[in-house]
Symmetry: C2
Subunit: 357 residues, 2 copies
């Protein structure tokens, strides 16, 4: 099996081995120590300020998106959302459900976010900004420098979903002046799915402490409180947290930029090798994490996904909704190598030779 | 390491091995098939009606408790809660947060629920009943026959947290006339923590469909909808769901009553062997899942936990809050054997010989 999807992705051998170990009881000093180490390493890898904190939330990325919005904003806020695909749309849906005043910048699939999109919202009384730095559904990576400049001059609280970008693209909370970042275990961290992380700077923590949240499970106050001694209020996905420490230690040893350079080189290798295939790269501002592809030959996107799965035991990442037939994605995150790329290219070439692609 | 805690617990070899496998992409017919099989097997093991459905919620048991209450009840309901420890108290806390009218039957630690506790609430206009069939924090197993009789004559919607009782004690939704049951992966199912399950009968499903829930992640409507084709609305803890199928297949092959008989026999064996130790069993109505113990000798409960961990690499289950010094628990769920019991007894005896216990 070769998995080029966008999560769960292929895991390294050292991480996999931890998955088969017995899981220790976790209300112990030993586990607390491990959690505090996880927090420090995660903050270091993401360029968070020293006073930042990490929420370890057992749940999907969507749980973390919803909980973050519930904890950081209230009815008096006015939020601006970049909606360039299904994950941007999810931010909007969450705001609507929770009665938060929000407007969205709607981008077509594959479209970049530009200064022009943003400038008309200058001085309009917005208080918060929500963006998926990499809109995973279309593969577009947004320019965080223009986001930073817009948010600074309008003094917005900036919440970034970096779920599919962290460890794949350069991302630094301090440099980009981000107040909260949402992460999930199963993307470039290459851990099993089941737990998400929210890194909060001091300003975000202040918001949490002064906000009233109508939820027990999603109330970050208890996570901040118990987290101080390396614990979570409810039983967390302990085994993934053990794997997280190993992963972060490996990233720390190699250096974050080295880890990102590796993903980037796998992506470049793949993008070079598809030349000559009836596949068009469907965005100009690309994340290293994924290549969005528009088939230009005989086979529709969803059929390519199924054919590769059934005939080659290779998983690429299909799209849903209106993009189902026109777009599929090839991921470059997780334990993927150039030789794995070659396998996928070989499969695609054989489909071309058979005149079915 | 020997783990007698109440979750995560020791896992079987076959389950552990799945934890080290690469995780497949899950938006596929193959994974849908596995999920539908999980749903059917779970329903079978828990005695659910044929039209019942299962919600697979990535999150801790508390997430499932809160989501269930949010989806099944509304402001016009009046709920009765059995509060005999921290998990009963959690039900109450959730109701308060969500503005639901609720009253609680407060039990002292170790106290049984009796007909007398219930009868004064007859005909008081209650619409729902919330109970933890096994109050995990104190080890008390409630009598579901009196609950059934009370709830039937008052026509209450019955929600049961069976997180620490399912597969340890006899539990049958049809027989007990339960409308919704909350389960979690890390107790007697002996899987890693990270996912919870809510089994809903037809009446509960009706409630879900007609209720308005102010949450995206906790809205069961989307889970019921996507679940029809074996999918979840958000990326689930895929690896645990693969392990779940294996576990349920094993349970189905052996028979649920055989699985429970085994837990019961491990519990009986342990309870017999502690005679002569300065430990008193601190409840009369016991779950097979756990033995709550009150130390009557020199060492406080929390010190016994720490001593066993540091000197014997054995984990028992400590209590928190006001019970920290007076109570600890020994679990009998997961891949525990009589010979593991012997190891724990040997350690306790050596502490007694050293005159420290």
């Amino acid at each position: 099996m070769l998995n080029f999807s966008l999560g769960p992705v292929m895991m390294e051998q050292e991480i996999r081995e931890i998955g088969s170990e017995q899981i220790p009881y976790f209300r112990t000093d030993e586990f607390s120590k491990l959690m505090l180490e996880n927090e420090e390493l995660l903050k270091k890898c993401i360029g968070a300020t020293g006073t930042s904190r990490v929420i370890f939330l057992t749940g999907s990325g969507t749980a973390a998106m919803e909980a973050t919005i519930m904890n950081l904003f209230h009815e008096r806020d006015k939020l601006l959302i970049v909606n360039g695909g299904s994950f941007g749309a999810r931010f909007k849906e969450i705001c609507n459900i929770h009665g938060l005043h929000s407007e969205e910048i709607h981008l077509e699939y594959g479209e970049d976010l530009t200064e022009r999109h943003l400038e008309k919202y200058d001085g309009q009384g917005f208080t918060g900004f929500l963006i998926n730095v990499h809109e995973t559904s279309t593969g577009v990576l947004y320019d965080m420098d223009i986001v930073k400049s817009f948010c600074e001059r309008n003094q917005l609280l900036v919440v970034v979903d970096a779920i599919s970008s962290f460890l794949a693209d350069r991302y630094d909370m301090s440099e980009f002046n981000i107040n909260a970042t949402i992460l999930s275990s199963q993307k470039a961290m290459a851990l099993p799915p089941g737990i998400s992380f929210v890194v909060l700077d001091e300003k975000s923590q202040e918001r949490v402490l002064h906000n009233s949240v109508k939820s027990l499970y999603f109330n970050f106050k208890s996570y901040l409180n118990d987290g101080r001694r390396g614990q979570t209020p409810y039983t967390p996905a302990v085994s993934i947290l053990l794997q997280l420490r190993k992963k972060l230690q490996l990233v720390d040893e190699n250096g974050v930029s080295e880890v990102i350079a590796n993903v980037s080189s796998i992506a470049r290798d793949f993008r070079m090798k598809i030349k000559g295939l009836p596949l068009e790269i469907a965005a100009s501002s690309l994340s290293n994490a994924v290549t969005p592809l528009k088939p230009t030959g005989k086979m529709a996107a969803d059929e390519i996904f199924t054919y590769l799965k059934d005939n080659h035991d290779i998983y690429v990442c299909p799209n849903g909704g209106s993009l189902r037939r026109v777009l599929f994605r090839v991921g470059h995150i997780g334990a993927i190598t150039e030789s794995d790329n070659n396998e996928l290219i070989k499969a695609l070439l054989s489909m071309k030779e058979k005149s079915i692609l």
